[in-house]
Amino acid sequence: MKTVTVKYCGHCNPHLQGPVILEQVKGKLPHVRFISGASEEGAGVLLVISGCPVDCAARPSGFSSVIATAGYTVDGRNVSKDTLVAEISSKLQGLLEDS
């Protein structure tokens, strides 16, 4: 089973609830294991979920690939509320297949 490490920003004034988004992503990628709480060095794929576009979550080092969700943006590109989960899931799927 492939693993994705999840890092949150802290959610001081979030436009979205990161854990809720993650649950929806998990629903789309049932074959992937998600672990959270990483602040040290890691490896593989890192999914950053920031609550707003400021995207201030610290990035732990060592990961080969990073997807950054910050409010309703994915890797700096605006996405709609309706397509956010699909966008993250699709990007993750692509990275995991490549890894």
Binding site: Y8, C12, N13, G37, S39, A57
Partner: protein, 479 residues
């Protein structure tokens, strides 16, 4: 790092002497009078283990390289200062109340940098002692209460001029093992559920006041330490639930008067003892760090007030009225203005000689000055929108009474589909958060308004502004 439960258990092992309503308290952690304050502080521990929050609530110690609770961290850069503000807002959104731990956080940061500069100038060795103490704080995740405000007696007299010499905490004896201190500290936020207190002088000192130029760490349960818990508005409601408004976390930090009667402090925990020249600097550093906080924590509290106000507008069926939307907009504007000030003073932070990062004091004092006004205005608007029912609600007992409860439920109902009890719960939350002790905390916490105005004028670069005007007006150099 301790969990919330480990923190609560650690309090149980202390022998803290706390008095409330004339009686010695023997069950602090489980007593309804203190429980909300303990719960609030416990959340600062618990969130360090929460994956969503840990990016803000933890840091890496510059002393040991270990992951530590941010409340025990020395700010290394402006990013640390910004994360502090964001952390405070995030926690306040969850508690809706003061969670107390920032005072000690600010005290350790102020003492760290000032002891370094003091040693550089005077050849003392306080900084290394403080570093050793700080390692203990970080390693054991100690909750430190910042202890600055002296009781002050006659405010027109200096410490050494007071008729009663104990009006400011002072050294009464020195020996080869340590010092003995006397006096009292007022408005001690979170002291009854802390582990240690970090005593600092309350004001700049002159040479004749050097016996009062004192900084030291003391366990809250040290022999000779007595805490007298302060009353709060509606504190008898703590023995119920709904009427409290925020039964889990309370309304304020839980303040006390702390008496120090011949308390022994070993030299290892003394960080200033007579160096009157540095008392003012320590006060300024602490006050500026502490004033930095208020756009964060009060911003988070205001978020909850806005949420409660908007919800009661929903329950009253007036959400679409244009004046209601405009007033909610004003509340958000005021809140984000406070948050902006806290972020600004953090972004403009700078390194001190010790390496620790310090906020911009002019901007920090400005944000706290705004808090003394804006929280009142936010609360005023919330009262406007909530309506007079905020002040005339029947009690929880009446709501639940078998005979008259049906009348309360029938006649205090708002829009269809919302239970009357829910409407009452939101109103009680709003009532408790926007009046009495909670409101006064915004005025005087981190110093009264005049204290900020003194620093604003001192830091305000007025001569530069005059020169700008003179240059444009082409006023002669003599003018």
């Amino acid at each position: 790092m301790k969990t919330g439960m480990e923190y609560k258990d650690s309090l149980r092992s202390l022998n803290t002497q706390v008095y409330a309503f004339g009686k010695l308290v023997d069950d602090l952690v489980d007593n309804p009078l203190f429980q909300p304050h303990v719960n609030s502080a416990a959340l600062t521990y618990e969130l360090a283990h929460d994956p969503v929050a840990e990016d803000l609530v933890t840091a890496t110690s510059h002393l040991t390289g270990k992951k530590i609770n941010r409340f025990t961290h020395i700010h290394q850069n402006t990013e640390d200062l910004i994360k502090k503000v964001k952390m405070l807002r995030m926690i306040a959104q969850r508690t809706g109340s003061c969670f107390q731990r920032c005072v000690g956080f600010d005290a350790i940061n102020a003492t760290y940098s000032v002891t370094y500069e003091m040693d550089q100038e005077l050849g003392t060795d306080y900084h290394q002692r403080f570093v050793e103490y700080l390692k203990h704080v970080q390693e054991n995740d100690i909750m430190v209460a910042g202890a600055m405000t002296d009781v002050k007696g006659d405010r027109g007299l200096r410490p050494s001029q007071q008729k009663d010499p104990d009006m400011y905490v002072r050294v009464v004896e020195k020996n080869d093992k340590g010092i003995i201190i006397n006096g009292a500290k007022a408005h001690m936020t979170g002291i009854v559920n802390s582990h240690d207190m970090l005593i600092m002088p309350t004001a700049a000192m002159k040479e004749e006041d050097k016996g009062y130029a004192l900084a030291c760490a003391v366990p809250v349960d040290a022999p000779g330490v007595i805490h007298i818990f302060g009353r709060q508005t509606n504190d008898d409601r703590k023995y119920g639930e709904i009427d409290q408004g925020n039964a889990t976390y309370g309304i304020v930090g839980g303040e006390a008067l702390t008496v120090l009667e011949n308390v022994f402090v070993p030299w290892e925990q003394v960080f200033m003892c007579g160096e009157w020249q540095f008392a003012g600097l320590l006060v300024e550093r602490f006050a500026s760090y502490h004033r930095q906080n208020y756009g964060g924590c009060k911003g988070g509290v205001a978020d909850v007030i806005i949420g409660a106000t908007a919800t009661i507008a929903d329950y009253n069926g007036v959400t679409q009225a244009s004046h209601i939307r405009d007033k909610i907009t004003e509340m958000i504007h005021l809140t984000e203005t406070l948050f902006s000030g806290s972020l600004a003073c953090s972004s403009e932070g700078r390194k001190t000689p010790s390496g620790a990062c310090f906020v911009d004091p002019l901007l920090a004092n400005t944000v706290k000055q705004n808090v003394t006004r804006f929280i009142y205005e936010i609360s005023r608007i919330s009262h406007d929108i909530a309506g007079g029912i905020l002040a005339t609600l029947p009690s929880e007992q009446d709501l639940k009474d078998e005979k008259i409860g049906k009348y309360v439920k029938k006649y205090l109902k708002g829009v269809e589909g919302v239970p009357t009890e829910d409407r009452i719960r939101i109103l009680r939350l709003l009532e408790n958060m926007t009046g009495g002790t909670a409101l006064a905390e915004s005025m005087h916490g981190a110093g009264s308004p005049q204290a900020q105005r003194v620093m604003i004028l001192r830091q305000g670069n007025l001569e530069h502004k005059k020169q700008l005007a003179k240059d444009l007006a082409k006023v002669s150099k003599k003018g």
